[in-house]
């Protein structure tokens, strides 16, 4: 996979994680489920790739984590959006919309 393609995918995954967490705190597995749910099962990501993404986002200060008890009484690490993460999500959404509309415009040009 080329670097540019990998970068684009990683950026997109970051945005999807932020979006999934916008609706409330979740553990890693829950984030994967929510991404599938909000995309109408159109987006299938390799589940393991979520975690490096989550760690990177945490390092940037866009999400924070803490250990808690899950719905089936197991210890799980829950992630939630920080204030800077919310701001970043808005920026990412705007960038994505601009890119998508520009690409569509280019594709529809005759």
């Amino acid at each position: 996979m080329s670097k540019a393609k990998a970068g684009l995918l990683q950026g997109t995954l970051d945005m999807l994680i932020l979006k999934a967490l916008f609706l409330g705190p979740l553990h890693g597995y829950g984030i994967g489920q929510r991404i599938a749910q909000i995309s109408g099962d159109e987006l299938k990501i390799e589940e393991g790739s979520l975690y490096p993404g989550l760690y990177r986002l945490e390092r940037r200060g866009w999400v924070e984590s803490e250990w808690d008890v899950s719905e089936n009484n197991q210890r799980a690490k829950f992630y939630k959006l920080t204030r800077t993460g919310r701001k970043q999500l808005i920026i990412e959404e705007q960038n994505w919309e601009r890119l998508a509309s520009a690409t569509m415009k280019a594709l529809r040009a005759s």
């Binding site: 890693g28 390799e46 393991g48 975690y51 945490e58 899950s70 690490k77």
Partner: protein, 183 residues
């Protein structure tokens, strides 16, 4: 995560790498456990469900290693790091100056400590001067050294050609100016 929290986490990751590895492993195992349960709920038998869960997860060890590495990486950008180093240097130099002034100098150990303090101050002064002259923070020492080496090379060849100084490193027979003087 605030800068303090991020720094604490970073230091903890370096001090207790096993703790971080265990934490990451627990988190990833929880994911596989949840996926296995979901697969069983969808009608798979337990062994098949676990195998499918591991397959859909990808390379467990690779993900674990990557997560541990991210935890151990610096939690802030290099500018903040440079500022931090600069601050530490300033505090060190200030502290050393205070120690130097207040040390008793009538015994040998006092004199030795004063010498050490003076050496630290001198080093701080040199690094500070370099930083100011190159508009770089002290962490850029390596960069400065590399640039200087590069500049030496430039002076011995390119500059002489450009300005016609006549100190070209090698003549047409491959001899250096020193070799030319003695042969």
């Amino acid at each position: 995560m605030s800068l303090i929290k991020a720094t604490n986490r970073f230091l903890h990751a370096w001090r207790y790498p096993d703790d971080i590895a265990r934490e990451v492993e627990a988190e990833l195992s929880f994911h596989i456990e949840m996926r296995t349960r979901s697969n069983i709920g969808a009608g798979m038998d337990p062994d098949e469900a676990r195998l499918a869960a591991r397959k859909s997860f990808g390379d467990f060890d690779e993900v674990k290693t990557e997560c541990c590495e991210i935890s151990r990486s610096l939690p802030f950008n290099s500018t903040v790091l440079k500022m931090g180093v600069y601050l530490i240097l300033a505090v060190l130099a200030g502290g050393t100056a205070l120690v130097t002034v207040n040390l008793p100098h009538h015994n040998l150990s006092g004199v030795l400590w004063q010498l050490v303090a003076i050496a630290v101050l001198a080093r701080a002064f040199i690094v500070g001067r370099r930083s100011i002259s190159t508009r770089q923070f002290p962490i850029g020492i390596f960069k400065i050294k590399r640039e200087r080496f590069h500049n030496d090379k430039v002076f011995s060849s390119d500059v002489s050609e450009k300005y016609g100084v006549g100190i070209a490193a090698h003549d047409e027979q491959g001899r250096t100016p020193v070799e030319r003087m003695f042969k």
